[in-house]
Symmetry: C2
Subunit: 391 residues, 2 copies
Amino acid sequence: MPGPRHNPHDGAGPEPGEAGARGASLNGQASAASSPLGLHRVLEPSGVLPQAAWRLDAKAAIWPDEVRVAVTRLNLDAASFRQLREAHDGNPDKVRAAVLNIVGTRGKMQNPVTGSGGMLTGTVAEVGPDSPLGLAVGDKIATLVSLSLTPLVITDGLAGWDGKSEQVPCEGHAILFGRSIAAKLPDDLPAELALSVMDVCGAPALTHRVVAACEARQPVVAIIGAAGKSGSLSAAAARHAGAARIIGVVPHEAEAQLLRGAAAATDGQPGLVDEVVIADARNPVLVSRAIQKAGGPADVTVVCVDVPGCEGGAILATAQGGTVIFFSMATSFTAAALGAEGVAADVTMLVGNGYVPGHAELALDLIRAQPSVRGLFQRRIDEHSSPNHGE
Amino acid sequence: MPGPRHNPHDGAGPEPGEAGARGASLNGQASAASSPLGLHRVLEPSGVLPQAAWRLDAKAAIWPDEVRVAVTRLNLDAASFRQLREAHDGNPDKVRAAVLNIVGTRGKMQNPVTGSGGMLTGTVAEVGPDSPLGLAVGDKIATLVSLSLTPLVITDGLAGWDGKSEQVPCEGHAILFGRSIAAKLPDDLPAELALSVMDVCGAPALTHRVVAACEARQPVVAIIGAAGKSGSLSAAAARHAGAARIIGVVPHEAEAQLLRGAAAATDGQPGLVDEVVIADARNPVLVSRAIQKAGGPADVTVVCVDVPGCEGGAILATAQGGTVIFFSMATSFTAAALGAEGVAADVTMLVGNGYVPGHAELALDLIRAQPSVRGLFQRRIDEHSSPNHGE
């Protein structure tokens, strides 16, 4: 029976040889001891991916292609934290106990109600000899795969967490697989800002790729939700990729003012967007006309607002032959598919994949180069932290 | 106040001048009398697209860019017909009354519970001078936009319909807008086969486009649900576009036998697929390994099975840099987005747009050229019609 190449396991839970053999039989590869997807860490139900698993094996001992991280902080997904707080009437002790119970039971911080996780920061504690992630012991990192699939053990009882914010100081360990994604925290940016940027870094990376590949000579790009985190970074990425005209759509005057501030060209930098448009993205007729008036239709439209019902407007605002990128998790697949067909729109519609190689680096570079985007992020961070700390 | 260029209206309902003016004020175009999207036909709520409207103006008089069709048959969406039959205990008179009531109330056949419509066939009765659809009076056509957005009046009380099948012989009229899609029914194919092909023609058209643009020299294409209507046509389209290897995935032996029959090369034609694989598409690990063994990973994976939970398998079965096209209406946007991120899959994920220019012609040509695909379709039609006619 093939075992892992080194065997540092503690004997608790299934033996690594068993897990390796299970993986091997599924793989049909006799020498496979672990799976880059983490299949060998899935305890139940067997055969599913770690994200779909009810329970993971979170033991500290690593397989040859894994990395163990000493955790310093969990960043719970906003939907998950809201659910926990509401379910426990905002009682911090109960919220803390609930998180401990989830992680203790499931071997990962995946809220069973919302299904979502979050991300974590920590320091690399051990790197397996076959790990492809390029990390070294002592690196300070953030995970860019969800906590919902990351093996996790909490060892401090969350004693340092007040239970009132999704920022959870924490001691314990987490495991990264061969195909996990982690990014080193930069030395030159505050950790909270860097995390906030990395949380949405898939959007600017895919926007950059699509705009750079755009066949239009002077691509017009519309960003729906341009004053938000993913929206403002996507606008910066579109500019970097050669967009000739960027139309930023926001829902009301307050956001418009924020965006106009960022739109002003300063220090020889071009402004973040060329036009600021106020429109309700859920009204296809109005939003598409507003974009048309501002220089549209768009060759590339990027949907960055987490509000249902924005599919039709994005489709109508896009030129025939153009592309819509849906980053909003509120996107309805059927509304997009039927909406395009219903108006004979020959547009390419992309599901916003959160992973594009080099996405964290690109987003951090954009933040460094664009003080206006950095300002928008800092403002969101300040707004976000005050109500949590104040309640 | 700008009115339509000719004014053939009957005086019932709002005057066309009013509708034109309403359109004009929204458009900011003083001369616009009608909208290619049909906004001028929306009675309530105002400002939404015809598909989202509760009630349309279905009057027979046409605006200059419209076409009126003398209806011969409605083809109700399967989900809609099932809902109607179940809600009325299969009583044909009540089902008939329900359809008449919906069309009479809403001015379109959009089931208020399912939201879906269907398609219709008929003969072109009048063509407005500005219609861009290229139709002539007397053309026998099928609409390729949904009944859920098509103004419709029924004049025969559905006297010719037994209320037992989604095929509804019918007299009345329907209206096509400037941006509607209609296809002439071919003379050389039975109407039922042609309709069945046109119903899914977006899938082969987009598959053809993606495979033809694929950067891999010898593209490997996996079709999940390859024995079905959209799946088999997509396989034929992939071959036509230059796929070097086509892997057809089916859920069980019965489908595999159907597909193997179609896979045999005959009459100098290449077989429909090169490999037939039996796998549960909802199990990401098993389906991706099965595709791997059959010559994968795929450069292009096409999901054509209307079963939830196929996102992960399709993503894992696809090569880095490859493309997944989701045609299944059971696709979950979030499962696709998070699934790709969770396994660091750099794959392009497309929402299967049902509209690609030339889609009906391409699909009909594939059916003409590929007797094996035609056989699969005929078999589905025969299977499908017998239970309806037999109950």
